[in-house]
Every structure is written in C-alpha cells, then in structure tokens.
C-alpha cells in the first residue's frame, strides 16, 4: 500500500522522483507523494475557509484546523536544503536552532492571535525553517516553501536569526505568496518587500510589547556585524527614516523617486514611510487599527501580482473608511501617510 508523510518537503519528494539511481517504481512513488501533498494542502485550505464561514455564522466547525507544526533543519554549513531535521528544536543545545524555533512559533502566535490567521497559508501549513545555511552566509530568504537563515560573516552581519523582525519578514513573504501574490518586480515588488518589513516590524513591536512611540522601527538591528557597526550602520532599513545614513540600504521617501527596475528592497522605502507616518499619527499599538487594515488589504481581495503602489494606497484608504467609522482619525492618518510620500 502506498503511503507518504507530509513531513517530507515537496522539494525532497520531487528530487527523489527525478533521481536516476532509483527504480521507476520508486520514482513514481515519490512523484505521487508530491502530487498528493499538493492536493492535501488544498483540502486543508478549503477546510480553513469552511471554518471561517461557520465561525462567522456563530457556528462551531466540525473540524478546526490544528496549529501549524514548526520544524527546524540544520544545513550544517552546506548550501543544500532542507538540511538535517532537528528532532527537538525547542530544547536544542544550539542557540540558533532554538531561537529560530521559538521566534517562528511566536510569529505563528502573532498571526493567529492578532489577525486570526492559521499559519502562512491560513490553513495550518507547516512552518519550516533551515539554519546554518552555507558558510559566512550573509542572508536570509524565503524559497517558496521554507525560511532559510545564514550565520553571517561576523563582519557585515551576524546570525540572521537574531532579529525577530527578520524572522517575521521572511515568514510574511509566505503570507503574501498565499494571499495577494505580489510579484517581485516593479511597484508590486516594492509592496511585497514593504509587507514583509511592515509585518516584521509589527511583530517585533508586539513581541516586545512596544507601542509606536517606544518602537525603534528598524529592520535587522540585531544582525548588524561589528564591521558594519564600526562604520555607523545600525540596521538594514528604517521605516521611520528610510533614507538615513545609518541604514545599510538607504531608500527613497517619495513616489516621485521611484524608478523602473528599482530593486524591491529599495522601493519599499516609499510605502514603509507611509506606514510609519500613519502609525505615529494613530498612536497606540501598530498592529491594532493600522495593522488590521493592512492585513485586510493584504489578504482580503483577489491576488494582484502587478498591483501598483497607488492602487494599494487607495485600497487602504477605502478599507479604513469601511473598518473604522465613525472615528475618522485612522482614515485621516492613513491618507496623510500616503500623501506624505506622494501617493
């Protein structure tokens, strides 16, 4: 009888399905497992939708999607994913592994408790991460199905799991993938990066119990290495001051400065500043009124891979008018935030 385990990532199943060292029957087994995994994820998503509908009716769903599994794998300084699975990451003797597990679990809790979202896909998908990727690897990334973190070169950067906002930044790329599906080019790319910075920052503030005044609004503060720090750099990016000299990646602050072909990590400065400006005007906790509107804008409409920044700005204005009456202060703050950057 054919059997499969969803704990094996799709990329591993597909690799085995193409491995010439296996028999044709074995390759077909792995290909079938990958196909079945895809269909089961669709089922899970549909189950999540049923739950949401029944919950909105005040009914109790027959099946409540479980909280997501959080898995960690150790690449052991190779660049092959997923790496070696870690049996008990919550109690790992390796600080990086344990931290990635704890903070990924916290991001899952953040999305669930603040936005009612069950994992990256809204339907309880496993949240998989790999650590110790490569040697002196100065990056963290989302590959479509897992987060991956390098250890840094101890000059420009240190361990990329050190910043809670970086962990939430990467996971939010997954949320975007399963919702608005913003592409990674042009204005949509800047919006994609902005979503990750905005929700990354909100998670950082929620985790630290900081309101908008207490927050530092920095992305990557805790991954800056001694060499970069010596040169006066304190972060990757700063939502409060995107063009500041202390940013490793200074960004434009006006839409008029957007250029075709601009890297998404550069153009995201425009919506980042709009978000910060609105947040400071509203006050309190960023994940409350403002975060709810941003979450609705990200997840409440059909996929829009080529969405423009103006369209997104108008969407948040529209949602603010719908979600926060009769108090117009939130809507006014959001309008002012976008106006400040020329949108």
């Amino acid at each position: 009888m054919a059997c499969f385990c969803q704990i094996i990532p799709d990329e591993v199943l597909k690799r085995f399905s193409r491995d010439p060292k296996l028999t044709a029957a074995q390759r077909k087994h792995f290909a079938n497992a990958a196909r079945l995994g895809t269909e089961i994820r669709k089922l899970r998503k549909q189950a999540g939708k049923v739950t949401a509908v029944t919950a909105s009716m005040g009914l109790v769903a027959g099946v409540v999607p479980a909280a997501p599994a959080i898995t960690l794998s150790d690449c052991q300084h190779n660049q092959t994913l997923p790496g070696v699975p870690v049996a008990d990451p919550a109690n790992s003797a390796d600080d990086t592994t344990k931290r990635a597990f704890v903070e990924t679990s916290a991001v899952a809790d953040f999305y669930k408790s603040v936005f009612g979202r069950n994992s990256i896909d809204g339907a309880g998908i496993t949240m998989a991460s790999s650590v110790h990727y490569g040697t002196n690897f100065n990056n963290a990334f989302w590959n479509g199905s897992r987060m991956t973190y390098g250890d840094g070169d101890n000059n420009i950067f240190i361990d990329f799991t050190n910043s809670t906002d970086v962990i939430a930044h990467e996971l939010t790329h997954g949320v975007t993938q399963y919702s608005l599906q913003l592409s990674y080019t042009s204005e949509a790319g800047g919006l994609n990066e902005h979503m990750s910075d905005a929700f990354g920052s909100m998670f950082r503030q929620w985790r630290a119990k900081q309101d908008v005044t207490q927050a530092d609004w920095l992305i990557g503060k805790e991954i800056i290495g001694p060499g970069a720090a010596e040169r006066g750099f304190t972060c990757l990016r700063d939502l409060a001051s995107p063009g500041a000299a202390h940013c490793l990646t200074p960004q434009p602050v006006r839409f008029a400065d957007f250029q075709t072909g601009m890297d998404p990590h550069i153009s995201s400065g425009i919506p980042n500043l709009a978000f910060f400006t609105a947040a400071k005007a509203i006050g309190g906790n960023s994940w409350e009124a403002l975060g709810q509107i941003w979450y609705k804008a990200l997840t409440g409409s059909d996929p829009s891979p080529n969405m423009s920044m103006q369209t997104f700005a108008n969407l948040t204005r529209q949602l603010a008018a719908q979600m926060t009456p009769p108090n117009a202060s939130v809507a006014n703050a959001i309008d002012a935030g976008w106006t400040a950057v020329g949108l």
Binding site: Q79, N136, N138, N139, A140, F141, W142, N143, G144, D153, N155, I156, F157, F160, V166, H169, E170, H173, Q177, Y184, N192, E193, S196, G220, G227, A228, R231, F233, L236, L248, T249, P250, D263, H265, I266
Partner: protein, 94 residues
C-alpha cells in the same frame, strides 16, 4: 578562456543595489573544472534567467565575460551558479 567577473545581487540586505555593500569576485575560466566550464558555457548560451517564482530575498548573480571581442553579461538565480563561482565572491562594505 575568458575571465569571469561575478557580482552577487539582492538578498534581504540588497547587495549590489545598496551603495554600502557589494559582493564581487573573479574567476579564470581555465581554473574551473571541465564540468563547471561546460555549465558556465551553457548559462551564457541560455541567457539571463529570471528569479524562481515565489522566492524572496534570494541572491542572483550577474556574470560577465569577454568573448570574441564583445562583453557578454547574464543574470541568473544562485541555484544555477556553480559552487566554484559562488565561493569566489566576497562580501564587502564599500
């Protein structure tokens, strides 16, 4: 065999697009294994490849060589670049 100039671009920090950090390297084609030389030739024949869909904050590589009196440049995802080229690149503060 031409020299290859390699730039690593992107990532969460914006290597190569930030004015403050860059990632560059050089490799003599003749120093590569025959397998890697063939892989590089095939990359240039195929031309630039866009990033894989749904990947974010990944690195891309811009590889340039001089051939037949002309400069050729391609940009491809890291997953397509031979390890010998990847390891030649050094990250530095400008």
């Amino acid at each position: 065999m031409p020299k290859l100039s390699i730039e690593r671009l992107g990532g969460i920090a914006g290597f190569g697009v930030s004015p403050n950090i860059k990632s560059e390297g050089e490799v003599e084609s003749s120093d590569l294994s025959p397998e890697d030389q063939a892989k590089v030739e095939k990359l240039f024949e195929g031309g630039s490849v866009p990033p894989v869909k749904n990947t974010n904050d990944v690195f891309n590589y811009r590889i340039t060589r001089q051939k037949d009196g002309r400069s050729q440049t391609i940009q491809v995802p890291e997953s397509l670049v031979p390890a010998a080229l990847v390891s030649s690149v050094k990250d530095t503060l400008r």
